[in-house]
């Protein structure tokens, strides 16, 4: 019990600590791929600190919701992130939240963010919220369908159980799981405002989505929101890693060595996925906003196809 709580707290601290680093790493890799030097991988930490120290400017007619939302968004994302096994399974909270809960918690965060975008009553905030919800209307079911496929195959919605199943004799890549993976990756790109869906680095008025929603934020509020965004990216990568490359994760009741192995494996996975992500981002161009539904729609179709093919490919249950 205590060990579980310890692992859980460690995990919470770990994800919180690693998230900005992951963002920094992606930026660095991206810069290198573009033949730039790029900022240090620790730049996000500095940015956060800088933002926190700055004066906070709040729009005149912003309500309490505008000011409270960042904390709630951050907290929800953080709780969701702690539910995903990273370096070890058997977390104390794993009995409280399965993969559907994780999706839903992210939904709560998005819901609040969209509201915050509308609160000041500007046109850009509205654009962001409206587009975000439209993307979500496709991305969320796509994600759930991918999750369904995995859950149906593994007979569980618990991430640790799915992870264990994938490690077991019946795990491995079959067509359903492959499709689910592709769907999940597409969703992850969309949800984290990555190219080709959105560009986190842009402030070009008519194309931004995520940035439009948080346009009015500044100072510590912006810092918290930025932290939540990097946590979300970490969460998605962890999720994909936990399900599709579950090797190395420490199991229940493992010793210190296993933890060390688990941590190392986790760091390696993060690095690999960050590299792949940036590689993909640099290789494609951003889409027009109304091409995105097609893109996400593909994910939804793939997810559904994965579920249906699961019956064909005769995975033992």
């Amino acid at each position: 019990m205590t060990q579980e709580w310890f692992r859980q707290l460690l995990q919470a601290a770990l994800v919180l600590g690693l998230a900005p680093l992951l963002s920094g790493a992606t930026r660095k890799i991206r810069a290198r791929l573009l033949r730039r030097r790029g900022p240090s991988v620790f730049q996000p930490y500095r940015d956060l600190l800088k933002l926190i120290r700055k004066e906070t400017v709040v729009a005149e007619n912003a309500s309490w919701l505008f000011r409270a939302a960042p904390y709630a968004i951050f907290a929800t994302t953080w709780v969701a992130a702690t539910l995903v096994p990273t370096f070890a399974t058997g977390l104390s909270l794993s009995g409280d939240g399965d993969v559907i809960v994780i999706v839903a918690l992210l939904g709560t965060a998005r819901f609040l963010l969209a509201l915050a975008g509308l609160d000041v009553g500007t046109s850009f905030g509205g654009i962001g919220s409206s587009r975000e919800m439209m993307f979500a209307s496709l991305a969320e079911p796509a994600m759930l369908m991918a999750v369904f496929t995995l859950s149906l195959i593994a007979g569980s919605t618990q991430l640790s159980a799915i992870s264990a199943f994938m490690l077991g004799p019946n795990g491995g890549l079959n067509i359903s799981i492959a499709l689910a993976l592709v769907a999940l990756i597409i969703v992850a790109l969309g949800e984290n405002s990555r190219i080709p869906v959105d560009n986190p680095a842009t402030h070009l008025e008519l194309t931004m989505v995520h940035e439009a929603m948080i346009l009015e934020y500044s100072g510590r509020h912006l810092a918290v929101i930025e932290a939540a965004a990097s946590l979300k990216l970490l969460l998605y990568i962890s999720l994909i890693a936990c399900v599709f490359v579950p090797w190395g994760t420490a199991g229940d009741g493992a010793g210190a060595v296993a933890y060390a192995v688990g941590l190392g494996a986790y760091a390696a996975k993060l690095a690999v996925f960050a590299f792949l992500l940036v590689l993909f981002e640099t290789a494609v161009a951003k889409m027009r906003v109304f091409r995105v539904p097609d893109f996400l729609g593909i994910a939804l179709m793939l997810g559904l196809l994965a579920t249906i093919l699961m019956f064909v490919s005769k995975v033992p249950r």
Partner: protein
């Protein structure tokens, strides 16, 4: 102790319903002065609370200790049997709890009615009708209650009769309600058989699946039209918003639940053992309902109509649960059937809470601003803070987001969907995941829908003078909404108690129940087994609270404390006019572009004047109500055409009439002659 006798609870409940009926004529006199109105609503509140208590007792009493009462009124050739069994008791708790709170709201809100005489007599009658449906243990009382419920709510819908729109709404409603009632009448006719065994226990003895198949279709039409299943939902978005807001809450939050009860009673209890294919029409209709309901809601800019359309979506979710349960029950999977049914009834409960809450909130907004159109609202969070908080809770809950209650039932539904590989038929195994996709899609759309609803109404800047001048509502209304909001949270973090209460229902209806949940550590719920799935709403809620508090504390601890208010930045293009904000229409535009072009045949027409021309540029959006055009318009055309054609018979000459008589005579003679 009278509680020990089996009939006592039924007697108590019946007398409660009797009191409500008696309150209806009293309402005529009470409507004349404000105190009378308040007292009437207070009486409704107390009686409903009592009824909810009685029903809860029934739910906790072992089934063997329950008894029904027979009263010598009602159908001349049958017998009238009244009483709660676990199934009706569960629904009775749900509807009376919500009704009691809504009545509490009405104590404050009811004073705003322009013509209270058109509301007061019908309000108690409406509640009484709903309770009678639940209390009935024979077909006649059931239908009397059913029609009474329709009739009283119709009167309430038409209470603001000066608007032609309301009159049309009421008319469409009454006609469809009666049509549904007739479908149920047929169903009961089939179940009762030629011998006329109208009591439920007689029907249960005689039930057979062959008959049940037709009953299923009729129940889908009858109960479905009342609940709002597509394509029989057309009345719902018209009628629910037309009524005074607390009545809208009753209709949307409560009455539709009675319809669900009707379906469960007919199909799960009376129609006999289900056949495997029964679930397919239910699931298909439910899936389509879910998706279309939310899409319709997204296209709507009228706050109350949006909520009403969203009721359609939620009814779809409930029926998905029911359809799954039916599938599992037919497949002999008792535990899975129990899970799906629990999910459905849990969602019934949840929806009664948050939909009532949202309608009450919209009522407060309507009273404060006189506006239902979201394009004229905005910024109310500043002027109506309590309403805004309650409404926000409702919005999050209805969007099925944790840690509120809506998520729990949807999660349970997903868990049931994930059990579908156990089903014996291939078609079901393929269908159920597709339905799951629809459910997932609608959940995400619902979130968009309520971002729009809350954002346009409460956030941003006021879009009209009325919204600028809005005032917070009265004490009663605020308290009622906060109670609902609190219940939404409670049911979300302590779902185990709700699930356990439904246990005796599933035991009765599908012959199985989930393992007790309330005793699990941290009030987690584990519907099947811990390795498969679990959800700990309480712990997650606490974690989120702690995380929020900790973050806020730490950030504020280290952050610069200066906060400056300034005009909005808006990328450097701020505009003082509230008209530059995103509107409800523009918010929904991306989703309309994605889904609407197929579902609503949405087309945008832009009229752009030539350069130099000072005419106004215009954007026009054409939306088609495809369901109305596909299902209703042809029927109306048919009837109108037939009426037009036959109407010529009114204008014949006497000789032609004689000719009709003569022809009838000759034809009948030929018939007799050839026999």
């Amino acid at each position: 102790m009278p509680l020990s006798t089996p009939h006592c609870l039924s007697q108590l409940a019946a007398s409660g319903v009797g009191l409500l009926f008696a309150l209806a004529p009293i309402g005529i006199f009470a409507a004349r002065r404000p105190l009378g109105i308040r007292l009437t609503y207070a009486a409704c509140m107390l009686i409903c609370a009592g009824l909810a208590g009685v029903a809860l007792l029934v739910l906790l009493t072992p089934a063997s200790k329950l008894g029904f009462i027979h009263i010598p009124v009602g159908l001349p050739l049958g017998r009238t049997v009244l009483g709660f069994d676990p199934l009706s008791a569960a629904f009775a708790v749900i509807i009376n709890l919500a009704t009691a709170i809504i009545s509490g709201y009405a104590i404050g809100h009811g004073a705003h009615a322009r013509e209270p005489l058109r509301i007061m007599p019908f309000y108690p009658a409406f509640i009484a009708g709903m309770n009678l449906v639940l209390l009935a243990q024979d077909a006649f009382s059931f239908l009397v209650g059913w029609e009474f419920m329709s009739l009283a709510s119709w009167a309430l819908v038409v209470s603001e009769h000066n608007s032609a729109e309301n009159r049309r709404a009421a008319l469409v409603y009454l006609i469809m309600a009666t049509g549904g009632g007739l479908a149920l009448l047929l169903a009961f006719g089939l179940l009762a058989g030629p011998g006329g065994g109208y009591a439920f226990d007689q029907i249960r003895l005689a039930a057979s699946s062959g008959v049940g198949s037709i009953v299923l279709i009729l129940a889908l039409a009858g109960a479905g039209s009342k609940a709002g299943l597509v394509p029989l939902h057309a009345w719902l978005p018209l009628a629910h918003p037309a009524a005074p807001s607390h009545v809208s809450a009753l209709m949307s939050g409560v009455m539709t639940k009675v319809a669900v009860y009707g379906f469960v009673r007919l199909i799960f209890d009376l129609a006999g053992p289900p056949l495997w294919w029964w679930s397919i029409p239910v699931l298909l209709v439910a899936g389509i309902t879910t998706l279309l309901g939310v899409l319709y809601a997204l296209m709507e800019h009228d706050l109350k109509r949006l909520l009403a359309y969203h009721t359609v979506e939620n009814i779809g979710i409930i029926f998905i649960g029911l359809g799954l349960s039916l599938a599992f029950k037919a497949g002999g999977l008792g535990a899975a059937a129990a899970l799906a049914l629990v999910a459905a009834i849990f969602h019934v409960f949840n929806h009664s809470l948050f939909k009532s809450l949202l309608f009450l909130g919209s009522g407060s907004v309507l009273t404060a601003t006189g506006e239902r159109d979201m394009e004229h609202l905005g910024g109310l969070i500043h002027r109506m803070p309590v309403t805004a908080v309650a409404f926000l809770v409702g919005c999050i809950a209805i969007s099925a987001l944790p840690p509120f209650n809506g998520f729990v039932s949807e999660w349970l539904t997903f868990q049931a969907i994930l059990l579908s590989p156990q089903l014996p038929q291939w078609i079901q195994r393929l269908l159920v995941p597709a339905i799951g996709a629809m459910l997932a899609c609608s959940a995400a759309l619902a979130a968009g829908c309520f971002v729009k609803a809350f954002g346009m109404t409460f956030l941003g800047r006021p879009r009209s003078g009325a919204a600028t001048a809005a005032r917070e509502t009265d004490r009663w209304s605020r308290s009622a909404m906060l109670v609902f909001a609190a219940l939404c949270l409670l049911a979300g973090v302590l779902p185990g108690f709700v699930i356990d209460s439904i246990g005796s229902v599933t035991q009765m209806v599908v012959g199985s129940r989930l393992s007790p949940q309330a005793a699990l550590p941290w009030f987690r719920i584990i519907p099947i087994n811990p390795a498969r799935s679990a959800y700990g709403g309480l712990l997650l809620f606490v974690m989120i609270l702690i995380a929020t508090a900790a973050t806020a504390f730490i950030v504020r601890r280290f952050a610069a404390h200066s906060v400056r208010r300034s005009p909005a930045w808006d990328c450097g293009f701020p505009d003082a006019s509230p008209a530059t904000q995103y509107t409800a229409g523009s918010f929904a535009q991306p989703i309309r572009r994605v889904f609407g072009s197929v579902v609503f045949r949405a087309r945008e027409h832009v009229t752009m004047p030539k350069p130099g021309d000072t005419a106004v540029a215009k954007l026009r959006v054409d939306l088609h109500d495809t369901i109305w055009e596909a299902f209703y318009a042809p029927v109306i055309r048919l009837v109108e055409g037939a009426a037009d054609r036959l109407n010529k018979l009114q204008f014949l000459t006497i000789r032609n009439y004689l000719m009709l008589v003569f022809a009838a005579l000759v034809i009948l003679l030929i018939v007799v002659g050839t026999l």
